[in-house]
């Protein structure tokens, strides 16, 4: 018996070691990147997450691309020139954009790229417009609406639900003609082929338009019309276009297939292993990638990712900053630093729904807060003064982050470090609290709940620091900190129940509008969750400015408008802009040519990177 045991152990060890290869660079022409999760879909017009965008970005191509690490300079990609006022390809004061289309480009199945493919791709996306998908960006840019259904409803005078049955069929055949006319009158003329060019017609100048088109924006990727129609996507005709509108994710034929013109071809999406494999496109029109194969593999468990990097079985892994100490100094591994365009802030609800379970007693009696507690500017200012910004960034973020004057992150137009910011000053916080609600807050005290979405320790600590500081001012001040799961957050958000909440935003496109509108406009995602009183305030003071800024084509004049908006935000203490985080990227030392573009979904430039010790 004992002998068998010993032999088993010996065999086990041999087995284990037999695979250990002492090569210099493991898998030299394959890049293995370990991320978390996996793509949501490979349909460029549905995808709206970085994991999907990461794949689409290297399989499909857009008309233009960002230049290297820049987010404001562009280089041509499938177009041969980047339109500008100077070269005359932006016309009509910024309402017409002309893109000359490159010749000699082939799709992965051998078809040639034509201007018609470009026109088809954009129109398909606009008509498809899946709920909660990314197409609103192009719809806003081209037509100044938020969704295709809003657009249709406004032009035809009847809502989507008025025209369609639950099963998607028309309630009345007569509506078909109206819908066909809608396509012919609005969608078709917006993107047109003129000779070798594709021309976009906007209803008004829209400053970030080129950013919305640039490579990395999956919603502006170019499909092959012939293949797409054969697969069962929109057939390119005005008749019945509505049958291709808002399909469910899995109903799209492009859900798990991808044929583009990009430097890599999709070999396989292994859904069981959360693993996507790309191979080099040997017929690529541009400079061919040095890597023959790319594996993007979702491994949610940090220790597993870490171990694989250490063993050299992975070339780069997704590394949250809290694990910095674990990768720093690991043999054969280097750590790069960088920042994406994202911020984290706390915002207040000026009119919380009365049903909210986060208000305590619902009155200013020391056991709760009234629903309109935060509509008093003194309360908001007191909160702003009570946060120890610098200590937080140094101690909690370990220096991987910096302060921001408003919700506008560094790197975007209008960002200005010299704008006023609230200092950490408990004396001033005390003064503000004493003035709040005519002195009642100070006298009676309050009790409320601060929420953050769980899974983010930094946000939790930020809330706890704020709690400690405010409670230290007056023994009658009581704050609870509560983490909510994303589903619960979604729930409370829709029902207006969040009194004060911490949440972040990651740029859809690198333009101030994407942040300023989101937080400060009464229709913004977070603006709309700050209560009726805030919405009224925004409509009177912020909305007009935000709308003027987006239609302004002169960058200097735009920047001034954003400065003005940020000053209003400061004076009225609209929120506490906590920080703009920085990120770390852990990779093997044999990785060469890596760089970061903050707008690139995913962390790796697979098309220009290589491995060499």
């Amino acid at each position: 018996m004992k002998r068998i045991l010993w032999w088993s152990i010996v065999v086990l060890l041999c087995l284990g070691w037999s695979g250990l290869v002492f090569a210099e660079v493991k898998n030299p022409d394959t890049y293995i990147y370990l991320s978390i999760s996996e793509p949501d879909t490979l349909d460029p017009h549905f995808a709206y997450d970085t994991a999907s965008g990461e794949i689409i970005n290297f399989v499909y191509e857009n008309l233009i691309a960002y230049k290297g690490e820049s987010v404001s300079e562009f280089v041509p990609r499938l177009a041969t020139e980047v339109p500008s006022m100077e070269n005359g390809l932006i016309k009509d004061d910024g309402k017409t954009y002309v893109f000359p289309i490159r010749k000699g480009v082939k799709f992965h199945n051998g078809n040639d790229l034509t201007p018609e493919d470009v026109e088809y791709s954009f129109e398909r996306g606009l008509l498809f417009d899946p709920y909660a998908g990314p197409m609103w960006m192009l719809i806003e840019a081209l037509f100044d609406y938020e969704t295709l259904e809003d657009f249709v409803a406004d032009k035809l005078g009847m809502s989507w639900a008025d025209m369609f049955n639950e099963d998607g069929s028309l309630k009345d055949e007569g509506y078909a003609q109206k819908l066909i006319e809608f396509y012919n009158q609005y969608i078709d003329p917006a993107v047109e082929v003129e000779g070798d060019n594709v021309v976009f017609h906007l209803v008004r100048p829209f400053a970030p338009f080129l950013s919305i088109l640039a490579q990395n924006s999956s919603w502006s990727a170019v499909l092959d019309k012939e293949t797409s129609v054969a697969m069962g996507l929109w057939d390119g005709k005005a008749e019945n276009w509505w049958k291709y509108h808002n399909l469910k994710k899995e109903e799209s034929p492009l859900y798990q297939q991808a044929i583009g013109t990009g430097p890599f071809k999709l070999l396989e999406w292994d859904r069981t292993q959360q693993k996507v494999t790309l191979v080099r496109n040997e017929d690529y029109w541009g400079e061919k990638p040095k890597l023959a194969k790319v594996i993007i593999w979702g491994i949610d468990e940090w220790s597993t990712r870490r171990a694989m990097l250490e063993a050299g079985d992975a070339d780069q892994i997704y590394t949250p900053t809290q694990y910095y100490d674990q990768v720093k100094g690991m043999p054969g591994v280097k750590v790069e630093e960088g920042a994406r365009i994202t911020i984290t802030a706390m915002h207040f609800n000026w009119t919380v729904s009365k049903e909210s379970k986060y208000l305590g007693s619902g009155q200013l009696d020391g056991e709760g807060i009234p629903p309109d507690f935060f509509s008093d500017v003194h309360v908001r200012k007191a909160f702003c003064y009570a946060f120890d910004y610098d200590t937080f960034i140094q101690e909690v973020l370990k220096g991987f982050g910096h302060r921001i004057p408003s919700v506008l992150p560094k790197g975007l137009l209008g960002y200005d470090e010299s704008l006023p910011m609230y200092p950490f000053d408990l004396e001033k916080a005390k003064e503000e609290f004493q003035q709040a609600w005519g002195g009642q807050v100070w006298e009676k005290g309050f009790k409320l709940t601060l929420l953050y979405n769980t899974g983010n320790e930094a946000r939790q600590t930020a809330c706890e620091m704020l709690k400690e500081n405010i409670e230290s001012l007056n023994p009658k001040f009581k704050i609870e900190v509560q983490g909510v799961q994303w589903p619960t957050y979604l729930d409370a958000y829709k029902q207006g129940q969040l009194p004060a909440f911490v949440i972040g935003w990651l740029a859809d496109y690198p333009d101030p509008h994407n942040f300023i509108f989101t937080y400060y406009h009464s229709n913004g995602v977070y603006g709309s969750s700050q209560g009726q009183a805030f919405k009224d305030f925004a409509k009177a003071n912020l909305n007009p400015l935000i709308e003027e800024a987006i239609a302004e084509t002169d960058p200097a004049a735009r920047a001034e408008k954003y400065t003005e908006i940020q000053k209003i935000a400061y004076e009225n203490a609209l929120g506490i802009p906590f920080y703009q985080p920085e990120e770390i990227y852990a990779m093997r030392t044999w990785v060469k040519g890596w760089f970061l573009n903050p707008m690139r979904p995913g962390e790796v430039n697979y098309d220009s990177i290589w491995k060499e010790e």
Binding site: M1, S8, L12, L13, L15, G16, W17, S18, G19, L20, T30, I32, E38, D40, Y48, D49, Y131, A132, G133, W136, E146, T147, E149, D150, N246, K248, E250, Q256, E268, R271, T272, Q273, I295, I299, D300, E301, S303, T304, R306, A307, M308, E310, A311, D313, Q485, W486, P487, T488, L490, D491, Y493, K494, Q495, I503, G504, W505, L506, D508, N523, V525
Partner: protein, 343 residues
């Protein structure tokens, strides 16, 4: 006997119905917005009124019993729904992933039983002597070790520094071969498939990737078998027939192996059966740490994301396995021990 089996099998759909009702009732406690989180997973998607439109598109705002009936109708048509976590029809996803869990269970159960029984017997024979104490402490430590701690230790010590026991299913080179047209997939279990394809190198590679999780599960689970074997063996050693065997001058080896151990193994067989069934449904953490694509890690993910089609489908499947597994255990019990044979 046959009637007994039939009766138990008839009971199966009723039990599954109860399970599904229970789960659905619990999911009904969540608001439609909470359930929508499967479809909208980042703040960037919260644009305009799309959220409410999505809820009605997926019928999340219907009364919960309407949703249950709709689900039940689909189940009878053989459709368990769409898994948002698994990115495919639920049934397909389960079938795709189950072989990995089954394979891990098969490979773990062998050392668990082998070690548990052999060390249990040794322990009983050295009752209250040093070896007994050492073995019992060794076993209790394993039994008290959470599997995620031991799994992580294996990963950090053996894989990161020594290059042993890699996580995952296969190495990159082996996976390329397995994914190729020439490789036939028969059982869905990589070790068996590679043998059937005559690819010893891939068998080796698959086995190497299995070692980490197998070692973890073995150390964490074998103690139970050891304890049962030990106490059962101690009891049997006191029996008259053992004394008789010794009295008639049989060799000690024969007494232990033929007379004592065989009888001592009857309760062990039951417990082993339960261990197998338990492993099939209980490899969540080990699969996650070692990045194995089994059913356990899938269910953990589905639960996190409130993907209720997957949760329902997975639960039904586990219910099915558990009931069937327990039936097999009961039947084998009757087979091993003639005294409890059913009529």
């Amino acid at each position: 006997m046959i009637f007994y089996v039939l009766r138990r099998l008839l009971f199966l759909p009723i039990a599954l119905f109860g399970v599904s009702l229970l789960i659905f009732a619990m999911i009904g406690l969540l608001s439609p917005y909470q359930r929508l989180a499967t479809f909208i997973n980042s703040p960037e998607r919260l644009k305009s009124e799309n959220v409410d439109k999505l809820i009605s598109q997926y019928g999340l705002d219907d009364p919960i019993f309407v949703q249950y009936l709709r689900w039940l109708k689909n189940v009878f048509q053989g459709n368990l729904g769409w898994s948002y976590v698994g990115k495919g029809p639920v049934f397909e996803v389960i079938l795709e992933r189950f072989p990995y869990t089954l394979e891990l269970t098969i490979f773990s159960v062998i050392p668990i039983i082998f070690l548990g029984v052999s060390l249990g017997v040794i322990s009983a024979l050295h009752h209250n002597k040093l070896l007994d104490h050492v073995l019992r402490i060794f076993a209790v430590v394993g039994w008290s070790f959470p599997d995620f701690v031991f799994g992580l230790i294996i990963l950090m010590v053996f894989y990161s520094t020594l290059g042993l026991f890699p996580p995952g299913n296969l190495s990159v080179w082996a996976e390329t071969i397995v994914k190729s047209q020439a490789f036939r997939h028969i059982t869905g279990m990589l070790t068996f498939d590679s043998l059937l394809n005559g690819r010893l190198d891939i068998f080796w590679d698959a086995l190497r990737h299995l070692l980490g999780p197998v070692l973890t599960l073995t150390y964490v689970e074998f103690a139970f078998i050891l304890r049962i074997t030990r106490s059962s063996m101690l009891e049997v050693l006191q029996k008259d027939y053992v004394r008789t065997a010794r009295a008639k001058g049989l060799e000690e080896k024969v007494v232990i192996n033929k007379h004592a151990r065989r009888n001592a193994l009857i309760p062990v067989a039951t417990v082993s059966g339960q261990t197998v069934v338990g492993l099939l449904a209980g490899t969540v953490i080990v699969e996650t740490i070692f990045n194995r694509t089994g059913l356990g890690s899938f269910m953990a993910l589905a639960a996190q994301q409130l993907d209720y089609a997957s949760i329902m489908g997975g639960t039904l499947f586990f219910g099915f396995i558990l009931i069937l597994g327990n039936l097999c255990v009961d039947l084998s019990y009757a087979f091993i021990d003639p005294r409890v044979r059913l009529e």
